[in-house]
Assembly symmetry: C2
Homo-oligomer: 308 residues x 2
């Protein structure tokens, strides 16, 4: 469907409706990471994520599907940090959402304090090694270059769909968290006029760009194009609030507004924040005629609640 | 995707992933009810449903999309009834889920005690009439024959898909609540060998059949086929627990088991109950080679919580 913002048409790519385990970008990333798991020959996957993590939900579903055991380390934040975290309605910290869905899976859920995460994760891996368990460690968010290739495919799919619909876009917008998804899209749109613009949801622009550049270099190596002249066209812009999980009134209002137009839900942690950032950008830049927004999913986080 | 149960292959139709407002069967029903609203020329829709209602969620989204105001009467149950209602984990009454999503819409939410619903709804309509408001009353669940035609279309779509995949099915299974969805499917599969089997989730078999038969007669009138010899092939079988919203261990286990196979979530109120009923039926009936299960959605109810 399309919306207007100033002189720009906004089209939406509905990766939120991918049909595996509540969909979203992590499903495309796991199309490749599933291969990494199988190739590793490991009997167990170990990884971590926040209480909002879409990635952990999809990891649990993929491991169950592949019949591989998985240990998910869920980072609980300090009380004094979560006390400041704002909810949609009550300005308070919440659980629920993806955390609820994790309970449906055969995954082992291990809770750990955020402040102590680094040590805890190190010790956890050491313990498994000492037990002689052959496990695969995956960084948070599935932040591996193999995963990004899921979004190279997505970029090709998008280009095909746009061609079929006879639409020429100037830019693609999406939330930028770890940069795994954006790097894949940038790689897929290489050597085109389409600019891939990430809106920060949890890190500053410099950190996001650095992660993305590093990912792109590795992808060139994997793709055997490291000596080829490739043109990448991308940017990262500032989101409404880069404190991960913080939802303010502007973000909530974006979510409500879009829900009332076309039955599209933008999750509060990633997409309402990024959609809002895109609209602000478009209001001050009149040079785009058509842009595509990628709804990367995460709707379970619409059901987050206050923590008990 | 397909599962095995005894000698039967189970295929799943993913109406849970329809891309409007969290999808599900009510989206197809509203493809026709939206026309009813527009044709009525009313400035307001008034209807009611339970706290679990997928129908109210889609009603709110459709009315927002059509720019028609809507008053949604949500039935709150007596405390002594909800006390007995069993949750997935804690055997206690819960809100959340669809109720949470209703808050995102511009709809007017009116709470009413279940025991007093009949009077309340009567009085509410009288009040609007006295105020000279031109509103359209829609029965709970969108139980209008026009709505059922959404599932006549679905039946045609299914027949086309099965033909393309070269699969011959013996039966279609789905949850039977008000019968609106099942009546549409039965009508769409008329004069075929495919049996459309509903699994009760809230009413006894006799009541379900009576509603369906009445709906089918009206559909024949609308379709100008009342004097034609039409063969309907259907049945309604007993679900695990026909108390609406009650979830026992067998139902929860079905939900967990399916989530761990293919990343498919069955909601606890309708689909986990009906899928479980179908499996029980297939275990004692060996005469089906291929059946199709319709996942009618309702995933927001995975996020129901204890009421405060």
């Amino acid at each position: 469907m399309n919306y207007r913002c100033g002189n720009t048409n906004i089209w939406i790519k509905r990766d939120d409706t991918l049909d595996f385990a509540f969909g979203g970008n992590k499903v495309r990333i796991y199309e490749y990471l599933a291969g990494v798991i199988l190739n590793s020959g490991s009997s167990k996957v170990v990884t971590y994520g926040s209480v909002f993590s879409n990635y952990l939900r999809v990891t649990a579903a993929v491991c169950a599907n592949l019949n591989v055991s998985c240990d998910l380390i869920v980072l609980d934040e300090h009380d004094n940090v979560t006390e400041q975290k704002m909810g949609i309605s009550k300005q308070k910290p919440r659980g629920g959402g993806n955390a609820t869905l994790l309970n449906f899976y055969d995954a082992n859920i291990i809770h750990c304090q955020l402040a102590n995460a680094h040590n805890f994760i190190d010790e956890y891996q050491k313990k498994l090694k000492m037990q002689g368990i052959n496990f695969l460690w995956i960084p948070g968010g599935g932040h591996l270059p193999e995963g990004s290739f899921g979004y190279v495919d997505a970029a090709f799919e998008i280009q095909k769909q746009l061609k079929n619909e006879n639409i020429k876009i100037d830019a693609v917008f999406l939330p930028c968290g770890t940069g795994t998804t954006q790097a894949g899209l940038i790689y897929g749109f290489k050597n085109t006029d389409v600019k891939v613009i990430g809106v920060t949801v949890s890190r500053n622009i410099k950190r996001c760009k650095s992660e993305i550049d590093s990912m792109l270099e590795t992808m060139k190596l994997i793709d055997h194009t490291e000596n080829t002249d490739i043109h990448f066209n991308y940017d990262v812009i500032q989101g409404e609030d880069i404190r991960y999980g913080y939802v303010n009134e502007a973000i909530s209002n974006t979510m409500y507004r879009i829900a009332n137009i076309d039955g599209i839900f933008l999750d509060p942690i990633y997409n309402a924040k990024a959609f809002n950032g895109m609209e602000k950008y478009l209001e001050s830049h009149n040079d785009f005629e058509n842009v595509l927004y990628i709804n990367t999913g995460g709707e379970p986080n619409l059901f987050m609640e206050e923590r008990k």
